[in-house]
Symmetry: C2
Subunit: 465 residues, 2 copies
């Protein structure tokens, strides 16, 4: 009774703060607010609020803090780890209302945005200004920049532009008690005390709610050179990457590796023509974006020629047009078709010390084949960043819960000092495995920080830790 009265009081107060049109309760909360792109199931939320400015976010946090009520921040809900699914009785705090592109400062190479801006809109606004915002991932049309920052999103071109962290100059965050913490730095260099924004980048909404950001823009890009090459083994692939980075002064914008199982699967599922014969151990898609792709082609081809001479490459197809660059990428993006054909699958997102990726993949494959002979596997990933993806499935008749497969893989990742999450984050889905990649002292420090910044534990409770 006490709880009900208190709940009703909170809802009334929230309505006063955000306005009736920006509040939903009970069955009015749309289904899409109850899940993300993972299959994690959350609890039943109390309400969904969609404030339109930072002060309203702060007021929502103050109220929920006063009522000891959990808050789950939500961006575009395209996360793969369950970081944004509702906690039982929580207020869902959608940032979709903070969707202003406030400023583009071409001369400083930066953009000021609200956390609710869709990534693709930011990319397009940068392009319109003659610049680029290089963060890019499959969910670009629905993910919000606040969520990208809260999860330190990776994507296709991390090797050249870094993770989301490297693209954030400044942040504004609302803390658990409603305090607004402005850190809207606009400079690449600022050593006036500790850089506090890193407390929130990658914290998955557990330490604060990101409301605004200053983003770093890069020069616009005119096109790309790309090649699809076959290599004999991982050692050759790693040697090719070093060679390319040295010869091209680190202009490589993608180095996507595909093991033979992936390459054959994507050709079969998508019906695409094979640019290079499908009987090699490994394939790499190497891309170099630049201001003028035609002028940069000779240098790119010279790099490939010396790679042939050094026996790093067995076979190669070089894109002769931007259309062919896209065709190579469609081999990499074709993973979507494989995923839907083989569902239900388990999709791993791990990282490993680069030098040991080859042997680790071999060990994982052997262990899974021994334990689950009928399981289909494909290995691929952003190998240039140390990030490997593995899709295992369908798991239906093999290991329906997937836990046996997960345990097999993560036990091996642990022995290599790898990470159970290279880019997707921990959320709910990877909580059981976090201790495989972080020491007990690190976990203790994470818990200590959480208690210190959110003593009531209301911010995205149960996620990550």
């Amino acid at each position: 009774m006490q709880r009900e009265r208190s709940t009703a009081g909170l809802v009334t107060a929230l309505e006063r703060v955000v306005g009736a049109s920006q509040l939903k309760v009970g069955n009015d909360i749309p289904d899409v607010a109850l899940r993300d792109w993972s299959d994690e199931l959350g609890g039943t939320p109390l309400a969904l609020v969609t404030p339109r400015h930072t002060d309203a976010v702060a007021a929502v946090m103050r109220l929920c803090h006063g009522y000891d009520t959990p808050v789950v921040p939500q961006g575009g809900r395209s996360g793969l780890a369950g970081g944004a699914v509702p906690s039982e009785g929580a207020v869902l705090l959608s940032l979709a209302g903070l969707d202003r592109i406030e400023e583009i400062d071409v001369a400083s190479g930066l953009m000021v945005v609200g956390a609710g801006c869709i990534l693709q809109r930011i990319q397009e606004a940068a392009l319109d200004a003659g610049l680029s915002f290089p963060l890019d991932l499959g969910a670009r049309g629905s993910c919000q920049i606040g969520g990208n920052i809260a999860t330190n999103a990776g994507g296709n071109r991390v090797i050249r532009y870094g993770m989301t962290r490297e693209l954030v100059l400044g942040l504004e965050v609302v803390l658990a008690d409603g305090t607004i913490l402005p850190m809207m730095n606009r400079m690449p260099k600022n050593n006036a005390a500790l850089d506090l924004k890193h407390l929130f980048i990658g914290s998955e909404g557990t330490l604060g709610v990101i409301t605004r950001a200053v983003l770093k823009l890069h020069p616009g890009v005119g096109g790309a050179n790309a090649a699809l090459v076959a290599v004999a083994d991982f050692e050759a692939a790693a040697g090719l990457l070093r060679h390319a980075q040295r010869e091209l002064s680190c202009r490589v914008t993608a180095f996507e590796l595909m093991w033979n199982d992936y390459y054959r699967a994507v050709l079969a599922e998508t019906g695409q023509r094979a640019p290079v014969a499908p009987d090699h151990a490994l394939y790499a898609l190497i891309e170099m974006q630049g201001a003028n792709a035609d002028a940069e082609r000779p240098g790119f081809e010279a790099m490939l020629e010396t790679a042939f001479e050094a026996e790093l490459v067995i076979d190669a197809a070089v894109a002769q047009s931007q259309r062919e660059v896209e065709a190579f990428w469609s081999l990499r993006d074709g993973v979507a078709e494989i995923l839907s054909r083989r569902a239900p699958t388990i999709n791993f997102d791990v990282s490993l010390p680069l030098a040991r990726i080859g042997e680790c993949v071999d060990e994982i494959r052997a262990a899974l084949e021994a334990a689950f002979p009928a399981l289909q596997l494909i290995f691929f990933g952003h190998a240039g960043d140390s990030n490997i993806h593995l899709v295992a499935g369908p798991i239906t008749d093999v290991d329906p819960t997937g836990h046996g497969i997960e345990k097999t893989v993560y036990e091996i990742i642990r022995t290599y000092g790898g990470s159970v999450s290279a880019e997707h984050g921990i959320g709910l889905h990877k909580k059981p495995w976090l201790a495989y990649s972080r020491s007990e002292s690190e976990l203790a420090m994470l818990r200590h920080l959480k208690r210190s910044l959110d003593p009531k534990g209301i911010l995205n409770p149960g996620k990550v830790l």
Copy 2:
């Protein structure tokens, strides 16, 4: 008496932990341990210990924590903000004994080092392995990597390789109570929960003692192309930078700006030949390192030609050899001669939103000329990174304490949303001005973190906050 007994007990216990040869007390503490490259004066330390491994550092911290005794971590003591000068009664904790290069992993592009390794030794070890560690600054021959990380050092090539932060993959830190916090990540991508190392990078020894690090290495560099160009005003300089970054796909490794006052002063003080006539408003040194400087020259020159056509550049000298590249750099490095000739000076290290650097410099110059007509000024800096240096002096007969000059400059920096420290940190020297660049909420969060991680306040007390 209690205090004396307790002090003697601590010294005895420290000796047991580090060994008699690694402990100095009283007059045996060498003078060099009492100061850094700033003119900040510290207190009288209790002892200087130089442990040889992490466990001994942890034991020292446990002891000092138990005795409530302050600890001042010391690297190469080349800081310019007084961050490493002794606190009264403190134990000076030198990391010089942790000087092992433990591992170079060429295939993964990383190096594992002790915090006490001298930067230049790390650079040379990377070169010997065919790679490069691109952090570079004047103190390279004496500064230690632990200090570089603790201060998030900048330097000459931040525009291309980032601050020290961007070059650190993993860290090992000893906390105030002696807990060892291992975070020796080897992967560029690791989103398994919050990335805790950022709590310590740039914390200036106030939150933990850095003992080891995993460093990111870059491909080796074969040479550089460089030009010294004259431009009409800051707007043209900023336009030239954007043009160069676009045309060269962000391969610019330095964009050093020199205002006319600097250019004339360095020519006069060093007697060097002027590559470009000294009657222009601004000069930029543009450098592009790469695998093969000769092969890359046509692209570099084409960039300059289109800059001329776009009227971004008035005059230019292009280096025809590596010797000429070095000659251009000696104009920039000649600041050392100006500093010694004009001593005592005040040396500012500020950053500003890039677009507004020109007007802000004009405003600072006008304000200083009005208030201190006899004061000599030179403006220069890593403008591509938003970082400007100003040397004002000699100040002897103008403003002997320098406080008036500092106040004039920092008041203007504040109105532009700039930073009072782009790269040198806060230490003791800039404490009075920290609030000019950080909001009250940020300062409150910094204090909160300090209390949370070092409740007894023993780690580098009185620094930064």
